[in-house]
Symmetry: C2
Subunit: 183 residues, 2 copies
């Protein structure tokens, strides 16, 4: 493996660690040491890859949103449209599993509260959320498709956050079930 490839792989491991840890624990709550340790490196190497910690948040946002798009539109949901797509995508989004895997949650939901505290990240977040909503609207029909996409994303993201915040697993499952069972 050449030096350039090795460096590219290191960078990728750092971004993946960040996409996971920033979502699981938060941006401020994750230290550069934590991130580099998770990527199998030490602290000093960080600044050969990124200008600063905020630049990594930007990369982690893009990575996490790409993952969110795969979950919502690929992996079995490729051809679906309209109500059929809504049913399948919603069931996946609001699966109990989405509660437990803290490092893998929907980027739109999880970074919503992170991004206002890191102004440099807001433009990327905005572009990525808009992209998700555009893609949702493209699966729906009619002139109100975009508004319907915002309604769906709001409801799903809200339910995920409430369910994750709550202490009691029965309450968490109740929220998810309520939104899963009806539009």
């Amino acid at each position: 493996m050449g030096r350039a490839e090795q460096k590219a792989e290191s960078r990728e491991r750092i971004v993946e660690a960040a996409a996971r840890l920033f979502r699981a624990r938060g941006f401020r709550e994750t230290s550069v040491d934590d991130l580099m340790g998770e990527a199998g490196l030490t602290r000093g190497a960080f600044y050969a890859h990124f200008e600063d910690k905020v630049a990594l948040l930007d990369a982690a946002l893009r990575e996490s949103f790409a993952e969110a798009r795969r979950g919502m539109f690929e992996r079995g949901l490729e051809g679906l449209r309209g109500a059929a797509w809504i049913d399948r995508a919603r069931a996946r989004y609001l699966a109990t599993r989405h509660l437990r895997e803290l490092g893998e949650g929907c980027a739109a939901a999880i970074f919503a509260r992170e991004v206002p505290r890191v102004p440099e990240a807001r433009a990327t977040y905005t572009a990525e959320v808009t992209r998700i909503v555009d893609a949702m609207a493209a699966r729906l029909d009619g002139p109100g498709a975009r508004a319907e996409a915002w309604r769906l994303l709001s409801q799903w993201a809200g339910a995920l956050m409430l369910a994750r915040a709550v202490d009691d697993p029965r309450v968490a499952r109740e929220v998810l079930a309520a939104v899963r069972d009806a539009g």
Copy 2:
């Protein structure tokens, strides 16, 4: 003013500052100095009022949820039930004004991402969210009232967070309008 009353008033000012600043900037992002300055006191006095910063978060949660309940069920919404209540409460929750006043946002939405990082606060959050949903369900009818309450709260809270996270005011207004205009 007696000493006891003075102390009680100081405590109240600290809690009010916390309810505002924790929502506007976040728990970790707000220092004890910021809080005490906002309350017109200095740092050292803090520990005569609270065991530690986490204890203040607990008090700020209760204060913020009480405010949320007033917004959703009082101040003109007293007698309303069913669709009439939903229309009025939703319009208020999703008003553009709710975007700007960062220190006054709905506690259920805003603390949802704060609370998982401060384990001691989760029990209070859970109790308070449940209390809001119970109150919403009591305004609705039928056996599915509680599920409907979770769906409404999820959607409203999700829309508020997305709208606040986003950089572009036009996008923010688009989210709010989409959810405001239809259930």
